[in-house]
Point group: C2
Chain length 330, copies 2
DNA sequence: CTGTTAGCGCATTCAT
DNA sequence: ATGAATGCGCTAACAG
């Protein structure tokens, strides 16, 4: 069966295509009678407007693109839910891509997106991305970009994320206030700005309480390899508490602790920055700062849509609210 | 700055738009000289083809839609990775929607997708979906649909999933072979066909070994509420082993067991059908049947693309390979 | 209230 | 080897 178009309806009723278009759009100029006839036919033959054609005609694509390094289990799922929640009913749809955490793929995808005539982009940069020259064209063509979560400083683009430094500072202070002095921090890819800032916050908290530290207090993992992490955890007998900057690290550290038959929080206290999922099914519940992917997604999308709609070109840096959630791990 | 079109390039070079179009497409008829000039200008002014226009002209949208009940942490992320992996370089892009596990939203989205002139659909149905009348139009218009994971029997549509019954049978047998006779099964929404089949497999395994059972052996949870699950687990002193049909259930059951200070596998053995993630960071490692979302996504997308490209209208029911992975929980 | 015309960007005839 | 003309489906300006 063939898809029916406005023209087809027009022919059937011996009226013009524009009248059909207007009738379907409930334009006030069209008589109730005509509207009724048009809508009946439309219904009967399952007419669906062709959005590609409509948007094309109106010179806007109705598409925004999302580029993530990867669709990982923890943050991304919530993030996408947030984006979708905000997009629902907005007349915009999202096309989703993953850069595989590689800069050259990220570049390719950004090019590709532009061919799709996207009207906006939500970007979480790859671990290899150090600056944003590959967004020049988007900027030149006034296509709004909102950087999320993993961001890079660039005065041209708005960002939505948590206050990484403050967040990890709070988490670390939480441990200190519980009486811990020997604290070790687990961090991800050190080339990411997010990692740098979470690291800074960790150090700042230690400094604030005059707790001595050196390089050994901070462990970095470019890729989270469970075995490597377990090996490291084994060597932490002198520490009484562990800070994890992400869920990826948390789950492996937690596993390591359990496999060593250490108990939480007696032998090792544990705190994490997390999307809030693993802390609720790891035992005991993990004290964490909730970094809600949903909120980041929703907020970023809201901002992006407002930019698209109002040509709001003011650069904003939104810090999403975080909450400290007390578990039994500290 | 304004985006440049073929026409603009044509004007700049005082040649016709069709020549530019051909030059950009490396059509053999165009002289090397012209090609060079055209490409230089294109590069200089950052020309990007407008895919919407191109696809529109060629009467195909280049879009496939993905509709999931929700983008949950466990299965969906891997699934989307699989889809994207297969789509990469395919000249197709995906638009992603979530039905919120509600039939009316699912219907709305399917309508909406058709307005996008999608060329194919990957659908995992909502928990409320009992039959597939709302796919009639897609079927009538020859738009291929592949049902994934959560499927519904319908002779019109291909499916990609695991062999649910066999899978849970194997998992249950695994427990039985380890000497367990008192086994309880945790199941999700009982209205889903997936749940029914996993339940059947569970029962079949018990029957095969002449293990008596009744309704109390099988617990169903329409929504996975941790508290409810913990309460149930508490009552399982007479059982020596637990089967979980999904990761969602596994993590909560595991938490419950730990909170009761029962040890795994001594007090309770534990086996699950899983995407393979939680089993690796819960302690001890959980024996599970790996239900790879990635494989399902990749396979389903591959099938969908083949249907789109070759008008392959044969209905196929693909069962994705699963592996039993021995952990320390059994 | 309705019809005619035109054009969004592109690729494909059919010319030359 | 290049150009002119056409139309994909839709809507908006203009005309009546």
């Amino acid at each position: 069966m063939k898809r029916i178009t406005i023209k087809d309806i027009a022919k059937m009723l011996n009226i013009s295509a524009s009248t059909v278009s207007r009738a379907l759009g409930d334009h006030p100029d069209v008589s109730a009678h005509t509207k009724k006839r048009v809508k009946e036919i439309a219904q009967k033959f399952k007419y669906k407007p062709n959005l590609q054609a409509r948007y094309f005609r109106n010179k806007h694509s109705g598409l925004i693109a999302i580029i993530l390094p990867q669709i990982n289990k923890f943050f991304s799922a919530d993030f996408l839910e947030g984006v979708n929640a905000e997009l629902f009913g907005s007349s915009y749809s999202s096309i989703l891509f993953q850069s595989g955490n590689q800069l050259n793929q990220e570049k390719q995808l950004i090019d590709y997106c532009q061919s799709w005539a996207i009207e906006g982009l939500l970007l979480s940069v790859s671990g290899q991305t150090a600056q944003l020259d590959h967004l020049n064209t988007l900027y030149d063509f006034d296509i709004p970009v909102v950087l999320v979560d993993r961001v890079i400083d660039d005065k041209r683009f708005s960002t939505v994320r948590i206050d990484d430094k403050k967040t990890s500072m709070i988490a670390t202070e939480h441990l200190i206030k519980k009486g811990h002095q020997k604290i070790v921090g687990f961090f991800g890819n050190p080339s990411l700005q997010m990692t740098k800032q979470r690291h800074e916050g960790f150090i700042a908290a230690l400094d604030k309480y005059n707790i001595k530290h050196n390089e050994e207090n901070c462990l970095f993992f470019t890729e989270t390899k469970q075995l490597e992490i377990i090996a490291k955890v084994k060597e932490l007998e002198n520490y009484s508490a562990i800070f994890c900057m992400s869920d990826e690290l948390l789950v492996d550290v937690h596993y390591a602790i359990q496999s060593l038959s250490w108990s939480i929080p007696t032998d090792k206290a544990l705190v994490s920055i997390s999307d809030g999922n693993p802390p609720n099914y790891l035992y005991p519940r993990i004290s964490h700062i909730k970094h809600s992917g949903f909120d980041v997604g929703k907020t970023a999308t809201h901002l992006l849509l407002s930019k698209i709609r109002s040509q709001n070109l003011k650069v904003e840096h939104v810090k999403v609210q975080v909450d400290m959630i007390d578990g039994a791990s500290t």
